[in-house]
């Protein structure tokens, strides 16, 4: 079972006061600390677990600068066999371009499964995995929270609204976008870090992949980025349980919710 995992380094935004830069179209990212996208951490673990049980190779791929290799080294330390970094140079990508670049990179590789995170913590669009499946002509399942792999197929558990799971069989090769909570990602170990040092980490440019300049035009244009306006503070409801319930029902009624 050969598996490709697409991973990304994202800014850590919890407990940070985000600022918009002068252009009004970007978050100031210079001073932020970076970590692996949480969903991708689960995707790596899922891939490594399958590889440990069924054999084969795990390849981790990211698009980014040398600093972004941190997430590839992490994947290697967790058990991936090799890694590829696509250096986009000066190109600023959107989800569509990420999918396009990944598709071209992956089309030259052998694989049974491709994993991406459901979404990334920075842009949260949740579209790269699905667009990548489309560009490669693969079947896909999004928001996967369980996998039972067989020879040429996999039983896939997909999370629907309201806590319902949908179970289906998918023919391989296929792409799954992985949901957090599907497993318990392992800690990076010192042994893992030492082994990672000996594994292949290949760097490719867009030229290496054979892209001409005109082929890579973003399909998304950001008009404006703004912080949500500050609203009035929450209304604290006081009293015993019965009074609180009564007040809640009244407020919901006023807002047009039928209880």
């Amino acid at each position: 079972m050969n598996i490709i995992v697409c991973v990304k380094r994202v800014p850590l935004t919890q407990e940070v006061d985000l600022e918009i830069d002068e252009s009004g179209k970007k978050i100031k990212e210079d001073a932020l600390a970076y970590v692996i996208n949480d969903w991708d951490n689960y995707a790596i673990e899922a891939a490594v677990q399958l590889q440990e049980n069924l054999g084969g190779e795990v390849t981790a791929i990211t698009i980014g600068s040398e600093d972004d290799e941190e997430v590839l080294r992490r994947a290697l330390a967790m058990g991936a066999d090799r890694a590829v970094r696509i250096d986009p140079g000066e190109l600023v990508t959107d989800g569509y371009l990420d999918a396009t670049i990944l598709a071209k990179t992956i089309s030259g590789l052998e694989y049974d499964l491709i994993f991406t995170g459901v979404q990334s913590e920075d842009r949260n669009t949740g579209m790269v995995g699905i667009m990548l499946a489309e560009q490669l002509g693969l079947a896909h399942a999004a928001v996967t929270n369980g996998i039972e792999a067989e020879e040429k197929a996999a039983k896939v558990f997909v999370e629907l609204e309201g806590g319902i799971d949908e179970v289906s069989r998918i023919q391989l090769p296929a792409l799954l976008t992985i949901q957090t909570g599907i497993n318990e990602p392992r800690y990076v170990s010192i042994m893992g870090i030492r082994k990672a040092k000996k594994k292949e980490l290949k760097v490719m440019t867009l030229d290496d992949l054979g892209f001409g300049a005109e082929a890579l035009t973003p399909q998304t244009q950001i008009e404006e980025v703004f912080l949500p306006p500050e609203t009035e503070g929450a209304e604290m409801i006081e009293g015993d349980a019965a009074t609180i319930a009564e007040t809640l029902i009244r407020i919901m009624g006023e807002k047009g919710v039928t209880v």
Binding site: E69, A77, Y187, I193, R194
Partner: protein, 380 residues
Amino acid sequence: MDFRLNGEQKDIIAAAKEFATGEFLDRAQEFDRNESFDQDIWRKACELGFVGVFIPEAYDGAGYGFLEHSMITEEFWAVDPGIGQAVLSCTFGSEILILFGTEEQKQMVLPKLVAGEALIGTAITEPNAGSDPTGATTTAVKDGDSWVINGSKIFATNGDLADYMMLFCLTDPDNPSKHRRHSFILVPTDSEGYESSKLHGKLGIRASDTAELSLKDLRVPVENLVGREGEGFNELMAFFNRTRLHICAQGVGLARSAIEESIRHTKAREQFGAPLASFQNTQFKLAEMATRTRAARNLYYEAAWELDHGNIDHGLIAMAKWYSAENAVRCADAALQMHGGYGYIDEYKVQRLYRDAKILEIYEGTKEMEKTIVAGTLLR
């Protein structure tokens, strides 16, 4: 000159931080209140390779330097000093074995420390011998093929848990030089005559075991001498030149934690209609804490880097030790002050940091002894 860490070092720091955050946070208060620890956390840290990374590959270690060991220490202490100490003190004494032990001694002990199958401790201090270890009177006398050891030790880290104890013993009391009278002897703690009792009521690092040892007609084979007979004092100084580095890292980790807590609290807490962090007094205090903590880290980075490159700078190591310890105490004090009444309650981490910090100015060389060493290098 290149101040950048390499990718591997960055990865070690990130891994240590992730492990400590995942495993320590929920347990820290419980261990502190109960003076207890869960050895499973130490085992898990061993499984992941965090314990004894400076142990050579020939003995199953990672073969990294004391710099990498110190980096792990800093991250562990930045999450919780008590648990950091409980986990990483389990190799305390392996440095003597690596430097002076025989091949058999190393093979017998070191791989077990890495695997989480054994702990080692080192007992130096006695009721009447602290900063002046040459006053140690725990005596080892040769009797045929054995050393017979009698005496007592106090404040022995892991004395109650360790499988092996490195004992600093008086072996040549009549030698005219007080620096030629002692030797290190490796003692399995299941030997007859080894008794330990856990000390209770420590101010801080309460997750970490500290014990009093009583040694009565304890017999070990003569082969258990580590290093050379009569060279114990010099070996002890060489030992401290390694272990003092991770004390510096402990201080930097603790100070970082104090700064983080202070920033979080002063941004959230409002008085006089504005967050505490908006007052210049708070800002100056934070700036001083951050500057001194950075300086302390640079001191120990340099000292550890030099050591790993074969240059032992006794004075620099002593500078790093007292400075980072004193800075940790100051930062913990400042952090508690910023928390006001909240900081006085043990539900707030700063209270624990305040108590944990003080030991740094005492163990493995009081700050006064460190300054004596520094002055010695200036005035020689």
